[in-house]
């Protein structure tokens, strides 16, 4: 990749991290010092971070001459971008600033993990030279991003119960029923896209490896994640199993997502070892 692109990407990536960190601190001030203005500023800072993040990914994509979705660094950076995108969409749709306070540390952790990975731009190996790459990985980003939001909302749910005596929390964090429904909406989005991920992955695997399902660890863990969220959705719909138990399940589901992404790559190598 051209040195100019490398430098531009580095600057934008670090700026993104600084902005996400600033958003997290402002959200902390919002809650700790009960400053309404900090909350609003934090929201704008998060949005600005997202703009820089998008620019960083775009610069890398232009510099590499392909979509930046092929190795650990690129996927981690895109994963953080997906969480931020979903968080901003949910913030806009459901209008509660507090969501940003819970989601910004998650974004920061994921982009921090990305920053620890090698940023070297490599040419694509033949198996990755497919149009399905963009569809498969992009749907994974949206899916994981939505699960990240459900994780943050579920944490809010669990903490809200413990902060019943704090009027500031009660004022700024929606009622538990609404949090439960928003978490459900995020899981619905994530689940739909995870199904897309598995199906597009199967179509791609059929043309690349000659088998649409090989029980590779990555495939298996994507299926495990799908099963976990399928249980979450069924429990809610059929048995009215909502509230705290559902929130705990959504948190567990996201831990499974993280393992599918990071744990499988590092502990259970398979044919997805480049992912």
């Amino acid at each position: 990749m051209n040195q100019m692109f490398v430098q531009a990407e580095s600057v934008l990536l670090y700026l993104t991290m600084v902005l996400y960190l600033a958003a997290m601190i402002l959200y902390f001030i919002f809650f700790a010092l009960k400053r309404e203005r900090s909350g609003r500023t934090a929201g704008w800072t998060l949005l600005l971070g997202f703009v820089c993040h998008t620019a960083a990914l775009a610069v890398r994509g232009v510099g590499a001459g392909r979509l930046p979705l092929t190795n650990q660094y690129e996927f981690a950076a895109s994963f953080a971008w997906g969480i931020c995108l979903c968080a901003l969409l949910f913030l806009w749709r459901f209008r509660f600033q507090a969501l940003g306070a819970f989601v910004s540390p998650v974004i920061l952790l994921v982009i921090g993990y990305a920053a620890l990975q090698s940023r070297e731009v490599r040419e694509l190996m033949p198996a990755l030279q497919s149009n399905w790459l963009a569809v498969h990985v992009f749907t994974a980003i949206i899916s994981y991003g939505a699960f990240g939001v459900s994780f943050a909302v579920s944490l809010m749910f669990l903490l809200r119960g413990r902060m019943r005596d704090n009027p500031f929390w009660q004022q700024h964090i929606p009622e538990e029923q609404k949090l439960d429904t928003v978490s459900y909406r995020a899981v619905s989005l994530g689940f739909l896209f995870l199904t897309f991920v598995i199906i597009t992955g199967a179509i791609w695997a059929e043309s690349a490896w000659g088998s649409y399902w090989s029980w590779d660890p990555k495939e298996t863990w994507a299926l495990i994640t799908w099963f976990i969220y399928a249980i979450y959705l069924h429990q809610r719909i059929v048995r009215g199993w909502k509230d705290k138990a559902a929130a705990i399940f959504a948190v567990l589901g996201f831990i499974c997502v993280i393992f599918t992404y990071i744990g499988v790559n590092t502990l259970l190598p398979g044919i997805h070892s480049y992912a």
């Binding site: 429904t181 619905s188 690349a208 490896w209 048995r239």
Partner: protein, 434 residues
């Protein structure tokens, strides 16, 4: 009869489905953590005795093909099928007669979510409801509308999609025929017992400037040995070739070399051997030559082990092992045209070239799994984004309209949207009046 019905109800229940899914999760975790399909000695050697024995006893060395995993999957199918069969008439009835103002108003406790003045149709329109029914019940005028009725089929169709996928996968496992053929350009080899023969016409490795591989491409001809009909084409990674109803995949590649076996001055054998293969001496089968590895640009690594500096054929070298009656006679690295001699026999490696491994597959049920996947995605969209919603309004004694609604999934958000839009409408009315 009653007991059979009870057993069926239990088998088709949500509780059973969740139990099966939980067990499948445990099985999948085991299947991903424990190395699969290794030889028995691996499990006995790698794990403590009791753990190794347990893995082998439970079939955890091949989780995804063992009997209990198949039984679990079968139970899941029975559960999904039973659930869908039981729900089908209920859903048909719901779509046909379930969405009625009478039924909804009878079940309503009368608590309004919002109260508005004036024409109620405006709030219906703001909430996205088009066809509004009007009528009267117990002397009170009402309005009622329902939208996205198709949403009630979402979960049912999702189950159907899953069943189709499992059926396609299971049939594929039973009826898929897979073969592998490897060789160098010019070679023709039979494809299992299919009656076809595969000729590798050409094999090309396209390299970039930095020597990384851009693409592997094989030009192939498949011949029907019974009729002599030939069909040709190119297969590369991600671009399989379809010939005679079979898919041909450019699977992998490696190095091969010409091997000559001499006895004195007489040439006994001249064959192409791929790295990893071995061959016995024709008139002394106890003497075996194994071609272990190939180094196109031979160097000795820092650890003293053979290695290659580049992928170019600058200094080709062959790592071989000679066995006699199963015991190692010798192991060394040999250059092209160098000779190794054992008693009367001598061996020569030469003309290294890349070989290609082609996978041939005939899966008559891939399309079925594909349809299942499509049904599932559409059904999930239906379930999550075409949620069935009902909205009704009853005129109160003060002639204002009391609104309430029902959303299949997400009642709180629907309620909030109703309140918000009602408030906006009231504000706008207020502004107009001022």
């Amino acid at each position: 009869m009653k007991k059979i019905k009870q057993a069926a109800a239990r088998l088709f229940s949500m509780r059973t489905a969740l139990l099966i899914l939980s067990l499948l999760i445990i099985a999948c975790i085991a299947g991903s953590v424990i190395p699969q399909e290794e030889i028995e000695a691996y499990y006995r050697g790698y794990y403590p005795d009791t753990v190794g024995a347990f893995i082998l006893l439970m079939g955890l060395d091949d989780v995804f093909h063992c009997w209990w995993f198949v039984v679990l999957t079968l139970f899941l199918c029975v559960n999904l099928l039973g659930c869908n069969l039981l729900r089908f008439p209920l859903l048909v009835r719901r779509v046909q007669t379930g969405f009625s103002p009478e039924r909804r108003l009878a079940a309503w406790d009368g608590t309004p979510e919002a109260v508005v003045d004036g024409q109620p149709e405006r709030l219906f329109a703001r909430m996205g409801f088009r066809r509004v029914q009007s009528g009267a019940r117990d002397g009170q005028a009402y309005r009622y509308a329902v939208r996205r009725r198709a949403g009630v089929w979402g979960a049912w169709l999702t189950h159907l999609g899953m069943l189709i996928i499992i059926a396609g996968f299971a049939l594929g496992q039973m009826y898929t025929a897979k073969y592998t053929v490897y060789g160098v350009p010019g070679q023709t080899k039979p494809v299992g017992d299919t009656g076809y023969a595969l000729t590798i016409d050409d094999f090309r490795v396209d390299l970039r400037e930095d020597e990384t591989v851009e693409q592997y491409t094989a030009r192939l001809t498949l011949t029907d040995t019974a009729t002599g009909e030939r069909r040709s084409g190119e297969a590369s990674v991600n671009h399989p070739l379809s010939l005679f109803g079979m898919k041909l995949y450019q699977n992998s590649t490696g190095w091969a070399a010409q091997v000559q076996i001499w006895k004195g001055e007489a040439l006994l054998e001249h064959a192409i051997l791929c790295a990893g293969e071995h061959m016995a001496v024709p008139d002394l089968e106890d003497l075996v030559l194994a071609f272990n590895a190939f180094y196109p640009d031979y160097v000795t690594g820092a650890d003293g082990m053979p290695a290659t500096a580049t992928s170019q054929l600058n200094d080709p070298a062959y790592l071989y092992t000679l066995y006699y009656q199963g015991k190692v006679l010798g192991m060394n690295v040999l250059r092209s045209d160098e000779r190794i001699t054992v008693e009367d026999y001598s061996f020569v490696f030469s003309d290294p070239q890349t070989y290609t491994l082609i996978q041939l597959k005939h899966d008559p049920f891939t399309w079925l799994a594909g349809i299942g996947g499509l049904v599932m995605v559409l059904a999930l969209f239906l379930a999550f984004y075409l949620r069935t919603e009902e909205l009704w309004a009853v005129q109160q004694e003060d002639s204002r309209w009391a609104f309430a609604g029902y959303s299949q999934k997400g009642g709180v958000l629907f309620r909030d949207a109703l309140r918000e839009k009602a408030a906006q409408l009231t504000d706008r009315e207020g502004e107009k009046n001022e």
